[in-house]
């Protein structure tokens, strides 16, 4: 029966090619716009850390001074980062399955002079757990060991592009790379990797690319490394030496823990209570005990990383598709009603109401699918253009999920446009039209 419906639908659509083109064009326009902007929104709202978004937490402590809260506008807001002293303190907790303190700095990387000129690179300092915690993908080798963390050993993980630049893309595990004034041994090379949102850098440009070079956190003290990220403070200490900086109440380190279940989360919160209590005895943490652990999606929501306009555009584009379909209702109604004499003959010859109904619905869905196909094709192009405007635009693309959504959108809009006209045309009594004729 479906093939028969398809055949009649094609015949009917061929009868008036201009009208058919108009119908398909309208759906194509609507689907193209809707698909593109829904995809754009999907880029930012998709799970930033698939499978682990509810297990990885960002730690914040209220280490601010007594006189005023961290934020003037919102007294509930906690400092966005933690101090070096607290990073050291938190690392002693046995509860998290994985944990890391992290920040970025910037260094010169010196390739073999025959290969390239020295270049400046952002370098992330972290503990070994960082890589597994954030599902960082490796091409060669892997993370350094906990033993390398402890000493620390001069080991480094570099990304794909750095490996191309410095080692011409060869498996460089075990080779030496000069970062700043020290030689580091490469233990891992990342696969090409560009998440839409860097889940581990939510303080500065979360839509930026991941850092090209990673070295153990514990080099902070021996190499006297200063952060390249934001630093804020309240105590106004006189910071002259690097040691002053490390001892100060300035916050500049980000701290992440992986807590696999509720029980672990609760006992970690209890542990933080205890930690702050101990610090109070040392005269620090003069404000009431307060700390939070926050999941990545909650931070993204709280800090409003996703431009409001992305949401606006996706809603408006869906409404635009709706207007396109509603417009088609009128046109299809005219087209179908003009066919009433023909339909009543078919009805008189024994076609059931349902058959007539389905025949017309199939015709509309054909329009919907044809329009959808053209619309999806066009949205590939539109997304290329959009990608130039938005943060992380270079990773904007139609994935399988979005193709499915686009197909669904075209089917639904075909249905919205066609169901009422089809119902009207099938409810014509067979005899009446014959009588008139």
């Amino acid at each position: 029966m479906l093939t028969y419906h398809l055949k009649t639908a094609v015949t009917s659509l061929r009868r008036n090619p201009i009208l058919t083109a108009l119908l398909i064009g309208a759906i194509a326009l609507g689907v193209c716009v809707a698909t593109s902007f829904v995809t754009l929104r999907h880029l930012y709202t998709q799970d930033p850390l698939p499978g682990k978004s509810d297990k990885v937490f960002y730690v914040q402590l209220d280490s601010w001074g007594k006189a005023s809260s961290y934020s003037d506008d919102d007294p509930e807001k906690l400092p966005d980062q933690i101090t070096y002293r607290d990073a050291r303190g938190l690392m002693r907790s046995p509860i998290p399955a994985r944990q890391t303190a992290t920040y970025i700095t910037s260094y010169f990387v010196f390739p073999d002079p025959k290969v390239a000129r020295p270049f400046q690179a952002n370098v992330r300092l972290a503990f070994a757990d960082f890589f597994d915690m954030f599902n960082v993908p490796f091409e060669y080798g892997g993370p350094w060991t906990k033993a390398s963390d402890a000493k620390p050993e001069p080991v480094a993980v570099i990304d794909h592009d750095t490996n191309e630049k410095v080692f011409r893309g060869e498996d460089s595990v075990g080779r030496t790379i000069r970062i700043g004034e020290r030689d580091f041994r490469v233990v891992g090379v990342l696969r090409p990797w560009r998440p839409a949102i860097r889940p581990f850098e939510l303080n500065r440009d979360p839509a930026g690319p991941p850092e090209p070079v990673y070295i153990p956190f514990n080099f902070t003290e021996p190499l006297e490394i200063w952060t390249n990220g934001n630093t804020s403070g309240w105590a106004g200490e006189d910071v002259k030496t690097h040691q002053d900086f490390l001892n100060s109440e300035r916050v500049w380190i980000q701290y992440w823990v992986e807590l696999p279940d509720r029980a672990a989360q609760e006992s970690y919160n209890d542990w933080l209570d205890g930690y702050i209590g101990d610090q109070k005895k040392l005269g620090r943490f003069t404000r009431p005990i307060k700390h939070t652990i926050t999941t990545i999606p909650a931070i993204i929501e709280r800090e409003k990383f996703i431009p409001q306009s992305v949401r606006t555009m996706s809603i408006v584009s869906l409404l635009f598709l709706a207007v396109c379909s509603v417009n088609l209702i009128g046109i299809l109604l005219g087209k179908f009603l003009a066919r009433i004499p023909e339909v009543s003959v078919r009805r008189a010859l024994g076609a059931s109401r349902a058959q007539v109904f389905w025949q017309h619905v199939v015709e509309c869905e054909l329009i919907g699918l044809a329009g959808g196909l053209i619309g999806i094709g066009a949205s590939f192009l539109l997304l290329k253009v959009l990608g130039k405007f938005v943060p992380s635009g270079e990773v904007l693309h139609l994935d399988g999920e979005m193709l499915l959504v686009a197909t669904l959108l075209s089917l639904v809009s075909g249905l919205v446009a066609g169901v009422y006209p089809a119902w009207r045309v099938c409810s014509v009594p067979p005899a009446m039209q014959l009588k008139v004729q």
């Binding site: 902007f37 910037s106 270049f119 500065r204 105590a235 990383f305 584009s317 938005v390």
Partner: protein
């Protein structure tokens, strides 16, 4: 004009009337909201920064040769570089500063007037060499900018502040000559106070990625005279060029600076590019919304045209009968235009409600619902015109139906 027959005719064509009403309502709601968004985004883009954004170039040099480890060598390099930069054709002014425009960040501190009980207030703070105000293009409205030599003092004594900072710290006016100090939360001063020597007007540099965090910081700034640079962080410059000279200056500056010392890298970022990147989503929104409005009006116009054309062709016989009974061509034209106007207006009434409903959906927070009535009024007029234009061709066709058609059977 007698509306009765028109309403009865509309009753006979309920579906079509309902469809047009729905289309008009949706279009009005979407178009007004799109325009509303466009206005808001354009306001963000066009907010004056106070800087000569179109012609400022940011340059970063980062040394890797060991001789730069000494502070004195850095200071000498800055002064030599500034001389070199000023000698390049197309350069109006150049300054050494760590202030970077349109990056959503910078450095901040809190200040208060000396000898008061003011709560210290946040402000952006930047160190820069003498020519900074000329380089940025901000206007000194009171007092003066930095004088030569002030920037090489080991400890800055003078400060030039924005009008917003001056107004908050010295509410009785006349900031020049008074003292300002950086202070802790509890009001105790930090370091030696500075003497205010000048006040400049309009300053806007977004501070933080989240617009909520700009409040009370983005338009507040103080500048201290100093040479700024280190081996670890490199040396940054701002260069103000003649209009259109940025590319030439970039090429020439890199050549001359590397000639003076090749043990470093030189990078550039033209401010127009940075500003476009900063406002990328705003620009995109404006473009997309404009495109959608045009497409939407077109699609709706086409829809109304199609439905009216259909209803004319279906009513050919009735039109002929009315003509035979004495209705003039203009009666027929008026009938269809009136019918359409009534339908459009009904759609508009529902659409106004829809406008506010959609606005509510889009802003997510009740307090943000903002829909100026002038905008809605403009949308209403636009849709009336759109309805008229779309109805006119089929309605004119209806006037050409000859009265004789009434005497023929189908």
């Amino acid at each position: 004009m007698n509306v009765g027959p028109i309403l009865r005719a509309m009753k006979q064509n309920r579906t079509r009337v309902a469809l047009i009403i729905l289309e008009i309502a949706m279009t009005l709601a979407i178009v007004t909201n799109c325009v509303n968004v466009i206005i808001a985004e354009r306001a963000k883009i066009n907010r004056p920064s106070g800087f000569d954004d179109d012609n400022i170039l940011w340059m970063h040099t980062r040394p890797f040769s060991p001789e730069f480890r000494e502070d004195a060598a850095i200071d000498r390099a800055i002064q030599a570089d500034l001389l070199t930069l000023r000698g390049i054709p197309g350069v109006k002014a150049a300054a050494n500063t760590h202030f970077r425009l349109w990056e959503g960040g910078g450095s901040s501190t809190q200040v208060k007037a000396v000898g008061t009980t003011q709560t210290p207030r946040s402000t952006q703070v930047y160190r820069a060499t003498t020519d900074i105000f000329n380089t940025l293009g901000v206007h000194i409205i009171e007092g003066r900018g930095f004088q030569p030599g002030e920037d090489t003092d080991s400890q800055p004594h003078v400060v030039v502040i924005s009008r917003t900072v001056a107004d908050a710290a010295f509410p009785d006016g006349h900031a020049v000559g008074k003292s300002l100090t950086q202070a802790r939360d509890d009001g105790t001063p930090l370091r030696e106070p500075f003497t205010v020597v000048g006040v400049f007007d309009t300053f806007f540099n977004p501070f933080g990625m989240n617009p909520d965090s700009w409040e009370g910081k983005a338009d507040r700034a103080i500048f201290l005279p100093a040479l700024v640079g280190s081996y670890e962080r490199g040396i940054d410059y701002l260069i103000r060029c003649e209009p259109g000279a940025i590319p030439a200056v970039m090429a020439e500056a890199e050549k001359r600076l590397l000639a003076s010392n090749a043990g470093r890298i030189v990078e550039f970022q033209p401010t127009p590019e940075k500003k476009t990147r900063w406002f990328a989503t705003e620009w995109l929104t404006v473009l997309v919304m404009t495109g959608l409005i045009v497409a939407l009006i077109f699609v709706t116009g086409l829809g109304i045209l199609g439905i009216t054309a259909l209803s004319v062709s279906e009513r050919t016989k009735q039109i002929g009968t009315r003509r035979a009974l004495g209705a003039t061509r203009s009666d027929i034209l008026r009938h269809f235009l009136m019918e359409n106007w009534l339908t459009t207006t009904a759609g508009i009434v529902i659409g106004i409600a829809g406008t506010y409903a959609l606005n509510f959906l889009l802003v997510a927070k009740v307090t943000d619902v903002k829909m100026p009535w002038q905008l809605v009024a403009m949308g209403v007029v636009l849709l009336w015109i759109n309805g008229l234009v779309a109805t006119l061709p089929p309605a004119l066709r209806a006037t050409n139906v000859p009265p004789s058609i009434a005497t023929r059977s189908v």
